[in-house]
């Protein structure tokens, strides 16, 4: 066992984790743990942009951005957090530029901005150019820039180490983590004053997803196993334009630049559902419009996809502003977007839910927002909540940098006045016995079969449209699969780069999260944002204008409501 002592340990080397690390680098002893190499993190796959009301192209104000965020989230956003998001987005984006991020530029040399779904001027009147971008690889530029800064500031990177446990004292204070070094099979105990879980989302719970194979929610699930509640797990965003069958994302920027989605009649149908914003309606809505078109028989050739059409755009716009996404269509589907529509279908994209935090990224443990000492979370792993029931495009990157930064600053303050707490006896016991169990079984169930079954049932019953009976079936199926998981066996018994083992650990985490998603979806008897119930089609503010907190107890899952914070914008009907 390796023992290491740090002021702060950050799990996850995506945008949130690195942004936090940079705040502390040079001022505290910081380690960043990643199961990949940092620049491989999924932040790098973000395409379209990062919103901030810079007003470089036209008038814009943070209040407008805040309003769009609240409305986009179907009013279940905490407005104190949304205000911070919209205000600090401006500083955070400028900070990225100062770090060297190569944004596209306007003629006068400022950061260029473009349209994006759900972002409007004057509280919903018309689309506004708010998304700062670097071609259609904004996330790539963010992860590269932040990794570069991490190198500059000598951050301690623990690359290719897999999180296997989060450590707490008997009275519930977080005091470190346990990792498994993938290269050697060695366990490491990282003793820390503060721990940040920035390990990202869990799109791999679903069959069709834009998420990386690494998007398995490890940090969230491991905290949940230790008694930390999860918030708003029923809200999972399906992005309307994933490449057919593959789920690879085609950025909303394609529609921001003027692309439209068409059905089998060639009709640009979004206008029928959202007369003002049309194809720039938010993602939850676009996904449901597509679902409806397909259900009514207007999918292409009667199949479950429609077409994203950018063929009418200036070829120069396609080459300069959408080079990567149009390349995906060429490479993976053999389609030339300059001449023909791109086959697309909704794809599991973003978890609005996750570890509940306050605006300083401290994880909280109850409806009255009591912090868990020492434990922080930011980015997709966290639920602040700024995205509510549906995240707006570009706001994930804003969330990463704004709340990653706040996490780093608050951790830096905290660790000045705290000491290392004693580790639990046999700190790596749970981790070691879990791994020993997996390696020790000679015969049993297959990881791949269980994972496939989970992904299929989650896609069939718990995706864009849900209803009670389907959720009941999904719940029963997940119970079976969790039981089967207890008997998983592996072929690779070695210590060196045993990626069959890490896949098994990931599956265990995903099954825990799938269960909370199903329970959350069954519990919330209304439709709001990305959570759409066929048997409860209306939003119900009287009963459900609240977050849900999911607790794991010995008696099973318990869900409690947590009040939302309303400051400036009273809930209204959400129309575009």
């Amino acid at each position: 066992m390796g023992y290491h002592r740090y002021d702060a340990v950050i799990v996850g080397a995506g945008g949130a984790g690195l942004m936090a690390a940079i705040q502390m680098a040079g001022k505290a002893n910081v380690a960043v743990v990643s199961k990949l190499y940092p620049p491989r993190s999924h932040t790098g796959a973000a395409q379209g942009g990062i919103s901030a009301s810079l007003g470089n192209r036209e008038e814009d104000h943070w209040e407008w951005h805040m309003y769009d965020t609240v409305k986009g989230g179907d009013y279940i956003v905490d407005q104190d957090a949304a205000e911070i998001l919209a205000r600090e987005a401006v500083d955070a984006v400028l900070e990225l530029e100062h770090m060297g991020l190569p944004f596209n530029r306007t003629e006068e040399g400022k950061i260029d901005q473009r349209f994006f779904g759900g972002h409007t001027r004057e509280f919903g009147k018309a689309p506004v150019r708010r998304a700062c971008y670097a071609a259609d690889r904004t996330g790539h530029m963010i992860i590269q820039t932040l990794y570069q800064q991490g190198i500059k500031h000598n951050v301690n990177f623990h690359d290719e180490e897999h999180l296997v446990d989060i450590l707490f004292t008997d009275d519930g204070q977080c005091c470190g983590v346990v990792t498994y070094e993938i290269k050697t099979g060695e366990f490491h105990v990282l003793h820390a004053k503060t721990v940040l879980i920035a390990s990202g989302g869990y799109g791999r719970v679903f069959k069709i997803t834009s998420n990386a194979l690494a998007g398995t929610g490890d940090g969230i699930a491991l905290a949940y196993r230790k008694g930390v509640p999860l918030m708003d797990m029923e809200f999972y965003q399906f992005h309307p334009t994933g490449l057919y069958k593959l789920g690879i994302l085609v950025s909303e920027a394609a529609r921001g630049e003027g692309g439209v989605v068409r059905n089998s009649n060639g009709e640009a149908f979004a206008e029928r559902y959202a007369p003002t914003l049309k194809d720039l309606a938010p993602r939850d809505m676009m996904s449901r419009f597509i679902h409806q078109e397909i259900k009514e028989g207007r999918g292409i050739d009667g199949k479950d996809y429609v077409l994203l059409d950018v063929s009418h755009l200036d070829p120069k716009v396609i080459d300069e502003k959408l080079p990567d996404v149009t390349d995906f269509a060429r490479i993976y589907l053999g389609v030339e977007p300059k001449n023909e529509g791109i086959p697309i279908q909704p794809t599991a994209h973003y978890a609005m839910g996750g570890l509940p935090t306050n605006v300083d990224a401290q994880v909280i443990r109850d409806p009255s927002s009591t912090p868990v000492p020492g434990l922080y979370s930011a980015g997709e792993a966290a639920c602040v909540s700024v995205h509510g029931a549906n995240r707006l495009g570009t706001n994930s990157l804003v969330d990463l940098v704004v709340f990653g930064r706040r996490a780093g600053k608050h951790m830096l303050e905290t660790l000045q006045t705290t000491d290392w707490l004693p580790l639990p006896a046999d700190a790596d016991l749970i981790a070691k016995s879990e791994v020993a169990d997996l390696l020790g079984r000679e015969k049993g169930e297959s990881v791949a079969e269980i994972r496939k079954a989970m992904q299929e049932v989650m896609m069939d019953k718990v995706s864009v449209v849900r209803e009670a009976q389907g959720l009941k079936e999904a719940e029963a199926r997940i119970v079976e699969l969790r039981a089967a998981y207890q008997h998983v066996s592996l072929q690779d018994k070695g210590r060196r780069y045993n990626t069959e083992l890490t896949e098994a650990l990931e599956l265990g985490c995903m099954l825990d999260l799938a269960e909370t998603i199903v329970h959350g979806a069954a519990n919330r008897q209304e439709s709001r944002g990305a959570h759409y119930r066929e048997d409860f089609q209306a939003r119900d503010d009287k009963n459900w204008l609240a977050h849900s907190l999911t607790f794991r107890t010995p008696e099973g899952i318990r869900i409690e409501k947590k009040p939302i914070v309303i400051t400036r914008f009273e809930p209204k009907e959400r129309k575009y």
Binding site: L36, P39, G44, A45, P102, A135, Q144, Q148, K152, L490
Partner: protein, 234 residues
């Protein structure tokens, strides 16, 4: 659906004295990625097969390997473009850790030696961004696309014979800053690249350009650095 044979170079230092090939039959669609075929083997035939992967669409840079002798990302090559017998081997020039997975430490060390971060000690504007014209940005746009997959560096014959060359990927990342109008570290980087492990080891073979899954004009970027050294054209 068609059946293809994957001929995969296997090596596990825990148990093998030397590398050997193993063959696997998989059922694939023409539009499946090589990575899908590898996953099929790992998930349903042989769980010990080891390789890196994450995003599965050419963005994260994890799964560079030799596919029928050429450096490619396994998630960016389709089965229909490869024939019915496909040979998969680890990248050349780096120590093989297990099967298709190589030691990347040397690669990242070379990258870090380029000081791959914006160097500019001037206080940034109190309000607003540093200005940069679209034309100034265009000068280094191409090299910002690098995903650090190592396909170029391990395709370069010079790196197969010596450890003394930083390799194309490191130079690409130096180029990204040398030609950025906001950066003031060009002198330091050019000094490093003028040294014994720098650009003069490049023999302009163009393997790097052919190997780059992001379509970066790698050889041209190296040439631009050479010209910057010879003619101070930064």
């Amino acid at each position: 659906m068609q059946t293809v044979t994957l001929r995969i170079k296997r090596f596990n230092p825990e148990q093998d004295a030397k590398a050997h090939f193993e063959e696997y039959q998989v059922e694939v669609e023409g539009t499946d990625r090589v990575l899908d075929a590898l996953n099929q083997v790992k998930w349903y035939q042989d769980g010990t097969l080891t390789y890196r992967r994450s995003c599965a669409h050419g963005i994260c840079g994890s799964d560079a390997m030799r596919i029928n002798g050429r450096n490619r990302l396994a998630c960016k090559v389709l089965m229909q473009d490869l024939g019915s017998k496909i040979t998969l081997e680890p990248l050349m020039g780096f120590k093989v850790e297990k099967d298709l997975l190589v030691d990347m430490e040397k690669f990242f060390d070379a990258y870090k030696s380029m000081k791959p971060f914006l160097i500019n000690d001037d206080t940034p504007p109190a309000e607003g961004e540093r200005l940069q014209s679209p034309e100034e940005r265009d000068r280094f746009e191409d090299t910002t696309k690098c995903i650090l997959c190592a396909a170029c560096t391990t395709a370069c014959p010079v790196t197969w014979t010596t450890d003394l060359f930083v390799g194309p990927a490191a130079i690409v990342n130096a180029h990204r800053f040398i030609f950025d109008s906001r950066d003031k570290g060009a002198g330091e980087r050019l000094r490093i690249l003028n040294g014994g492990s720098g650009v003069w080891r490049c023999r302009t073979v163009f393997n790097c350009t052919d190997a780059c899954p992001r379509g970066i004009h790698v050889t041209e970027a190296i040439e631009q650095v050479k010209r910057a050294l010879l003619f101070e054209q930064v």
